[in-house]
Amino acid sequence: MNNLKLIWWLALKDLKIEYRSRQAFLTTLFFAVLILIIFNFAFDPGSNATREASPGILWVALLFPGIIQLNRSFQSEVEEGTLQGIVLSPVDRGVFFLGKFMANWLFLVAIDMLILAAFVVFFNFTLSGGLLWVLLLMVLVGIGFTAVGTVFAAMVSNIRIREVLLPILLFPIIVPIILAAVNGTREVLIHNDFSTLFRWMQLLIAFDVIFLAAGFLVFDYVVGE
């Protein structure tokens, strides 16, 4: 129970800081909308080819800007030295990981909903039940993306080229969830094939469980020194 409270307080602290500074929120949202606008101008939004490619466009807009938040989440801790403050406290480092993960994940899901709304407008999708399934995919993809991303963001937080290094380390590992996200979205929005969607979701759930557990276990070594 105490650990659950600690996880919430750690996450709440990050969310409060982000709410007050709005640095990551505004830059992430701006970057994502910019991606959608560029694709919108590059392709004819009414064509079948664009419709087929639109799940990929959506996930590029959802995941690439997410890197900004992951980098920010540890950059500020290192710059202000507060990472040392947490590491010096008796808090279990796995609990610290879950707190950071939760803050990053809540942030990502909140911003993803705004990006999804922009996507629906730019690519002429109608509001339907299918979008709820895309929301569920966003929640599941967000867990895996943030679990892996939080570990790597902590690893590179003391490195000068962290902004470059984080996506290079992160994206190869999350290829399975990118594939599941793009294909799952295509099945929902274009083909209406829910049996295939559920198979992709099973893959996402397995990925999420494995990498959340791995993050919890290895975080002690990641922030140890």
Partner: protein
């Protein structure tokens, strides 16, 4: 229950190397309860590395630091650390910062504790201001409040006078004097020989990673310490 005959901290053969460079070389000493140890030394003498190893932030290359004969992570909960950085969140208020740390240390009545600590370090009126707007002196006092919040049995101070004006230095000296009078165990790194000597019960001079000299405070006058210090570092 802790054995009072054991030293609070014991350093044995403590060595830290960064590649081919030895920052700390084979340090052996003990800190007893109630000791206020001031460590002097020029830049690069290994003082900060030593403090980080005692705090558990850096692992020694060889040797060990034992807290009451124990090497476990329990020592983390018993140590307060003031480093070059404030370890404070600029986007939180002074009170929110202390409340956050109180929660990390699992302290009951965190809000009351935070308020009383803010009063103790003279920041009660500024408690709801963002740390971003604090002066260097205010930040340093809040940093000390953060480090003392969980009533640590060992306080580690790394150049706490850095960046403080005369008024801030005086306030800090007063606070540290209170800690000494309370019988707290403190390990302080400072470049300020006069302040360090006045506050401490024991002084050490670290040079090129080695313990060059140590003495009880009453064995040294200010001028004797200055002469000794410059003799060692200019050797």
């Amino acid at each position: 229950m802790a054995n009072p005959s054991l030293p609070l901290v014991r350093l044995t053969g403590l060595t830290k190397k960064f590649g081919a460079v030895s920052a700390v070389r084979n340090l052996n000493f003990q800190i007893h309860r109630g000791d206020f140890v001031a460590i002097f030394g020029p830049n690069g003498a290994g003082k900060t590395t030593l403090l980080k190893m005692v705090a558990g932030l850096t692992s020694p290359t060889s040797g060990e630091v034992k807290f009451e004969g124990d090497r476990s992570a329990r020592a983390r909960a018993e140590t307060g650390y003031v480093s070059h950085q404030t370890l404070l969140y600029n986007e939180l208020t002074g009170r929110e910062n202390l409340l956050f740390y109180a929660r990390l240390y699992g302290l009951d009545g965190g809000a009351d504790l935070a308020d009383s600590m803010l009063s103790r370090v003279g920041l009660a009126e500024a408690r709801n201001l963002m740390v971003r707007g604090f002066s260097r002196g205010m930040k340093q006092r809040l940093t000390l409040g953060r480090a003392l919040l969980h009533e640590p049995r060992l306080l580690l101070l790394d150049e706490p006078y850095t960046g403080l004006d005369q008024h801030g230095s005086r306030l800090l000296t007063r606070l540290l004097g209170t800690l000494r009078a309370e019988g707290r165990t403190v390990l302080m790194i400072t470049h300020n020989l006069a302040e360090g000597l006045e506050l401490s019960t024991r002084v050490m001079i670290l040079h090129r990673g080695k313990l060059a000299h140590q003495a009880r405070q009453e064995e040294l006058t200010r001028s004797a310490l200055e002469n000794l210090y410059f003799e060692i570092v200019e050797r």
